[in-house]
């Protein structure tokens, strides 16, 4: 993943990997992350419009931030990553959380409006999991197989479309059972990311049942024994199982454990972004600046973990923060 390569090189990642407990479920943030230091005179309203994957994280950040600034008001809308750029451009929002990067045309539209590019902040990591029903015995899938299951264009090179569980390699009572597909609606960044990275840019099958939210995908798969769907790892429930994935035939299946996500080994790992509108050589509005500082503090990254995602290491956080905060 070329987007992850910058992070993989960071030495402090090793620290993060070592910190992860053996069980992989109890999470800890990098201890070098600084605690948030409140300043005085911060007030106003923060409006965030964007990704629904990050909606809950925004809500957790809001809860945490309000412990320091009780009178800061929050308004959080999460109806899909594609709603973030228009909201930033119109000034209706100061923060645009997105689960994918802005496209060139979105950046152009922003530049036309303000004369400079939006500032991108990488605030956390997510693994996009392929979920199956908890009874499903499948050991793993290659990315080409995932493409053959979800896409009608087969761009990743699998010879034929996979429509039944026996074609995906299952036996027993799974033979000839049609695969029931669950996915996201097209406003979602998850939809775009999956299309780009798991389907090699191809098109989804028409039989994908498009759901209005990530939880709805998981919910659908958990009551459909022959179902399969994709969503962020933060939405996992006891009713579903995340399938380990392999980059190619013959390579090992990698599961969604934190260390695999942070190291970039898991093939569908991605960053989560927050876009802000920052004019060059001018500070951010004080309220937004403090909120960004909070995101990259220990408290903010703990909220990332609580939201079911993976926090970033301290040096990486400092580097991100330096993009918007000039000391």
């Amino acid at each position: 993943m070329k987007r992850l390569s910058g992070l993989v090189l960071l030495p402090s990642l090793l620290v993060a990997v070592l910190l992860v407990g053996a069980g992989g479920t109890v999470l800890a943030v990098d201890p070098e992350l600084p605690s948030y230091q409140p300043v005085s005179g911060v007030s106003g309203t923060i409006i965030s419009v964007g990704s629904d994957t990050m909606n809950n994280m925004m809500a957790l950040w809001a809860e945490g931030f309000r412990k320091f600034y009780p009178n800061v008001r929050f308004e959080i809308e999460g109806k899909g990553s594609s709603t973030a750029p228009p909201a930033l451009i119109s000034g209706a929002a100061q923060l645009g959380p997105m689960s994918r990067e802005m496209t060139a045309s979105e950046i152009d539209a922003f530049e036309n409006a303000f004369g400079y590019k939006p500032t991108l902040l990488r605030v956390g990591l997510d693994a996009l999991a392929v979920y199956v029903h908890r009874d499903n015995p499948i050991e793993g899938l290659t990315l080409a197989q995932v493409d053959a299951i979800f896409s009608k264009t087969l761009r990743c090179g699998y010879p034929e479309s996979i429509d039944t569980w026996s074609e995906a390699g299952l036996g027993g009572d799974w033979v000839n059972r049609p695969i029931s597909l669950y996915g996201r609606n097209s406003a979602s960044g998850t939809y775009g990311y999956f299309k780009e990275n798991a389907l090699c840019g191809g098109d989804y099958k028409d039989t994908v049942k498009e759901q209005p939210g990530s939880a709805a995908v998981v919910q659908g798969v958990s009551v459909d024994r022959y179902g399969i769907g994709y969503s962020g790892i933060g939405y996992i429930t006891s009713g579903v199982r995340a399938v380990p994935l392999a980059r190619a035939e013959g390579q090992p299946f990698i599961d969604t454990r934190v260390e695999n996500v942070v190291s970039g080994e898991y093939p569908l790992a991605r960053f989560l972004y927050v876009y802000v509108n920052k004019a060059p050589h001018q500070p951010l509005p004080p309220l937004v600046e403090e909120f960004v500082k909070f995101i990259f503090s220990r408290e903010g990254q703990e909220a990332v973990e609580r939201g079911g995602y993976v926090s970033v290491p301290a040096s990486f956080a400092a580097e991100q923060l330096a993009r918007v905060v000039e000391e």
Binding site: G23, T25, V26, P38, S40, G41, V42, S43, G44, T45, I47, D52, N55, N56, A59, L60, A62, E63, R66, Y69, P70, N71, V72, R73, F74, E75, I76, E77, G78, K79, S90, G91, A92, Q94, R134, D135, G172, D173, Q211, P212, G213, S214, A215, A216, V218, Q219, R225, G234, Y235, I236, T237, S238, G239, R306, G307, G308
Partner: protein, 557 residues
Amino acid sequence: MNRGFWRSGDPLVWTAAGALALCLIMLFGLVGLVAFRGLAYFWPAELVQLELADGSLVVGQVTGRERIPAPGGTGAAARGRIQLKVGNRDVYGLDFRWIEEDLITGWSAPPELAVVERLEQGDAYGVPVRLLQDGEVAAQGDEILERLPAMLAEAAALRRELRRLERDVVGDINRRIEAARLALVRLERQAGGGAASLQGVDPHQEAAARGQEAAARHREAIARAQAQYEQVLQEIAALRRQLSGRTLVLALAGGSELSVDVASIVRIYRPNAMSPGEKLGFYAAKLWEFLSSEPRESNTEGGIFPALFGTVLLVLIMTVAVVPIGVLAAVYLKEYARDGWFTRALWIAIRNLAGVPSIVFGIFGLGFFIYGVGGSIDRAFFPERLPAPTFGTGGILWASLTLALLTLPVVIVATEEGLAAVPRAAREASYALGATRFETVWKVVVPGAMPGILTGVILGIARATGEVAPLMMTGVVKLASELPVDGLFPFIHLERKFMHLGFFIYDLGFQSPNVEAARPMLFATAFTLLAVVLVLNGAGIGLRNRIRARIEKAGPG
């Protein structure tokens, strides 16, 4: 016989009765399901301790049971499994676990098991073993539950005080700073404008001097507020210190221990040791908490008060907006307008308007109210806050007005029917007594049509309360930290975004990160929404009946 059977009309009667029965079954089935699942949420469920075949112990509440589909046929279909809420999210990662019944070797409900409701990370299940004060053991065993209630009450009082300081005192300071800052921006802008249109030197200098004086005053106000804020911050820090330092240690099922900060405990109880009376009391307390407190943990726990408040306020503002306009329009169309092709076309248009999908109204609200009207208000009255919009973004006022448009046809049509139902004799009697047309319409016809008008309002409210789609474009949010009405001037903040029960349900169901844990809350919220519709309608119907009774008493018949 056959012919007689068909001619008697029995088949039709039976079909009609069957259709009614089907409707009732669907209605009661749905309401019953929502009510049962919603109301069961507050009941303190038993905590069970399971021994598994591999020797491990699991503690939790049984939340579901299902049959495992037998592989390859119907042979061994007797196997089942249960879903257990195991809690302790911070330890296990997930709140729920499915366990196959075959693997369960022992099943008990030890009375010492306790549920600890926490402000964060959901419930913890375990046996309280130690209470620590600054690292020293302060209480052990049964003594803990005797000492904890007082501590929890104390912590709750401190939290309330903290909240008052943080919300009201700090909030007031923050607002003063913000107001002074905006005033400074305004002054700067004026000074800039003055320099551009500089003509006479003297008046400009005078204005500049006045401006500088005002700016100094605002800066001083900011500095004063800052100093006050520092003081309050110290008070808050002192309160926080008082809150911290106490830890409750729980023994978990696996033999490990979990430390819980006492300040973060909402309540602790032992469901297995409760008497039915205690359970009822607990139920009432939980229900009250649900209705009166704010949501926690990205809406999966706590209460729904902001959403409940938002829903009711939205409908009230909508009613205030739609009734006068709708009634006046209907009165003019029915009583004054000439009955030509234009009027008839208008009626058709109004009736068709009722069939327009609500999302279309939402788009209209976004384009016209928010970007059009709201944007103009911002440019005219709040230029110093731009580009951050004040009215140029979704808010409860715009959402209410959009809903008012949506329900306008319902009110107009119902009013028209009410006006048509006023007997001709009443009008003629009024004219015979020498009343003018205006007097007849306003003193005889409209009061006579009141029941019809109220029917329209009731129908409108029923439709508006359940609408979510147009709200999603006009200002409903997942989490609004302040209500649109509060104790700060000007008390009603119609530009604020709001929470709504319908959207709350949508969000919990489709977007919640922990959809299993959110499900009971989902049903409880759905039931609350049904109850709100019922109460609002009930109020309308009650009012209508009173008016109808008055008309009948005073009427000619």
